[in-house]
């Protein structure tokens, strides 16, 4: 099981690369969402040149027509580098095929793509790995893991909402107040406005350190976004050394099913 990091700070990249981890996820500026920091193509080239670790580039925004020129240029550049590309939008599959880029694609659709059949659909179209949702149970993840190579977020705040709108700015504008460079919360859920819209994250930080041995996944993803630096460094060390403990960490839906019919929740 490989361990890879979503790097939360583009000033300290070397510190993370020095850890005994297998790779990093680098969100691409302008074309990714849900990250504390983003990297330019030039940054990514530089990082690729100074490490042998696996480099994954996250390009996970819903693409608009106006993004396509930049997207195509970036994909062509990335196709000449030894990287995996994590994607949300199906435009990336189409461009990859149309231009014959041969990109190593990982589907990363947050809350969709949550059955074995759906994963097989993408696998049959050359997508050899899925970044699986945290909204499903361990049994479901393990079944899907039998048919597809999986990445999974095992540590970090989970993205649970993304709007194209600037929700905090809109509200503050309605109140005739200015938005500051601040952290905002609703009911202890972090709400972050960024270039492409507004994200909300889970109230609690997921931590599956005590469960990863029972997960049928290939990549353990540790996401340092919005985590204190020292704390995240400790977490990385714990995962690297498989240092389990007896604490009751937040596990999302790993052991809990959602419900969807009135009779299920009445």
């Amino acid at each position: 099981m490989k361990k890879i990091l979503v790097i939360p700070n583009n000033k300290n990249v070397d510190i993370y690369l020095d850890k005994d981890i297998d790779g990093v996820i680098l969100p691409l500026e302008h074309l990714a969402v849900n990250s504390e920091c983003y990297f330019s193509i030039e940054d990514i080239k530089d990082i690729c040149q100074k490490t042998d670790k696996e480099i994954c580039v996250s390009i996970n925004k819903v693409m608009e027509n106006k993004d396509l020129d930049l997207l195509e240029k970036c994909l062509i550049t990335l196709s000449k580098m030894n990287v995996k590309v994590l994607f949300y939008d199906l435009s990336i599959v189409n461009i990859n095929k149309r231009l014959g880029l041969g990109l190593d694609l990982v589907i990363y659709q947050d809350h969709l793509n949550i059955s074995s059949f759906t994963n097989l659909f993408y696998k049959n179209r050359g997508i050899g790995c899925s970044f699986i949702s945290n909204d499903i149970t361990m049994d479901e993840i393990n079944e899907i893991g039998n048919v597809q190579s999986l990445m999974m977020m095992c540590y970090g705040y989970l993205p649970i909402f993304y709007s194209r709108r600037y929700l905090v700015s809109n509200y503050l504008s309605f109140l005739n107040k200015e938005k500051k460079k601040s952290s905002y919360y609703i009911d202890e859920y972090r709400i972050e406005e960024e270039e492409n819209g507004t994200a909300i994250y889970s109230k609690d930080c997921i931590n599956l350190i005590n469960d990863i041995d029972r997960l049928n996944i290939d990549y353990v993803v540790l996401n340092g976004s919005y985590i204190n630096h020292d704390k995240f460094m400790d977490v990385i060390d714990k995962y690297v050394s498989c240092d389990r403990d007896d604490k009751d960490y937040y596990k999302g839906f790993l052991n809990k099913k959602t419900v969807y019919r009135v009779e299920d929740y009445e």
Binding site: V62, E64, N65, L90, I92, N113, L175, Y265
Partner: protein, 400 residues
């Protein structure tokens, strides 16, 4: 020239009939499984058969939503269900989970596929991917603007469906599981608890932001009556009205209004005065403010709804016609909201031009003179010189 399709929602068979009568070209519905309104009444298999027979007898099309994000446990029964839908000749299924493409191929099932807005298709490359998978139509993301929609139509040749009217998700469709995390109700399997319409305190650096209204993500409703002509001109195939859980009155009002507007456009008679009149009707029926959202501008504060949950129940719907006696000119209606003799009201329906009149003396079923019609579902009779038909609707006066 093909006329643009007016696509109506229906949460049950009665609503489907209302939508058909009031001018929808096509109706989208859900069976009891696999739809994103798990707690609407929805359609049993018998209802689905009856709905399709009824709609097809009027040359209307029926699309069935199969648009949940499937979990493994949802797959059992899916093939049989798709075969059933094929056997009753649904015109298309609306899908968000692409596993259905392979399941249909593997099982030799042939039903046209429309891609749900849950996949948030917002660009021509993603649309082309789906076209190459054999998809017939894409329902574009609500966040698409006019130029993007036109470009996707021009570049892909796909049938493109766009939202025309109704409630909006605040999030990009498919990218919201607030409901799962706040209430354990699965948003992508039809149990969304609409957390985006809740009120919250917003905290800035740990301190509550003080204001006269609480924070909410809630958006105003969508209404594109003012953009309708442009939407037709750029080549959209289908215009979708949201609201499978809305009332019969809402469906009748919204569908009949857009029906008239579309027909007037093709007749070259859609004037600014008419658009303003239609806007007035549409604005009243939902009791929430509406805007054009992303179609003609990027929505900022103007696209959101910060006044809290203060919608009043709609009392415009006064009654529905049960029968009309041509000999005596007596109309029989079933009451829906309070009205009385002397009120100015109007009547609209699929077979009549909307007209205003003053309510004359009113009587109960036994012929007793009444002062007011105050009881819901009370049967009321009165004399009316204009012929009306069953399912015509009496409402408050908009014309004058």
């Amino acid at each position: 020239m093909n006329k643009i399709e007016l696509l109506a929602p229906a949460g049950n068979l009665e609503k489907l009939k209302i939508a058909c009568l009031y001018g929808a070209d096509a109706i989208y519905i859900a069976g009891t499984k696999y739809g994103l309104r798990a707690n609407a009444k929805n359609f049993t298999e018998d209802d689905l058969k009856n709905a399709i027979e009824y709609a097809h007898s009027l040359n209307k099309r029926v699309y069935v939503t199969v648009n949940i994000a499937f979990h493994n446990e949802d797959i059992d029964g899916l093939v049989d269900y798709l075969k059933f839908l094929e056997s009753i000749r649904v015109n298309a299924i609306i899908v968000s989970d692409l596993l259905i493409i392979d399941i249909m191929k593997d099982n030799d099932i042939h039903i046209p596929i429309h891609i749900s807005t849950q996949l948030s298709i917002s660009n021509k490359e993603a649309a082309m991917f789906l076209k190459n998978e054999g998809v017939e139509r894409v329902v574009l993301a609500r966040e698409c603007d006019r130029d993007s929609i036109k470009n996707i139509i021009d570049e892909t040749g796909l049938e493109i469906e766009c939202f025309l009217h109704g409630a909006m998700c605040s999030a990009i469709s498919g990218r919201c599981v607030l409901s799962n995390y706040f209430t354990n109700r699965d948003a992508n399997r039809g149990a969304c608890a609409q957390i985006c319409r809740w009120n919250f305190d917003l905290y800035e650096d740990g301190k509550k932001v003080e204001g006269n209204v609480p924070f909410t993500m809630s958006t105003k409703d969508l209404s594109l009556i003012t953009c309708l002509e442009d939407m037709i001109r750029i080549g959209i195939t289908s215009l979708k009205v949201e609201g499978r859980m809305r009332s019969n009155y809402y469906i009748a009002t919204v569908i009949s209004t857009y029906r008239e507007a579309i027909d007037l456009y093709y007749d070259g008679k859609l004037t600014q005065d008419k658009i303003e009149y239609f806007s007035k009707i549409l604005n009243r029926v939902a009791n929430r403010e509406s805007t054009s959202q992303f179609y003609d501008h990027f929505p900022h504060e103007d696209g959101q709804y910060f006044v809290g949950r203060q919608e009043n129940s709609n009392q415009d719907y006064l009654g529905i016609v049960l029968s009309y006696d041509r000999d005596t000119h007596m109309v029989t209606i079933e009451q829906r909201n309070y009205f009385m003799s002397g009120d100015r009201v109007e009547m609209f329906g699929p077979h009549i031009d909307t007209f205003s009149f003053t309510v004359p003396d009113i009587y109960d079923e036994d012929g007793n003179l009444l002062e007011v019609a105050r009881h819901p579902k009370q049967v009321i009779k009165f004399k009316l010189d204009y012929e009306v038909y069953p399912n015509d609707i009496m409402r408050v006066n908009f014309l004058e």
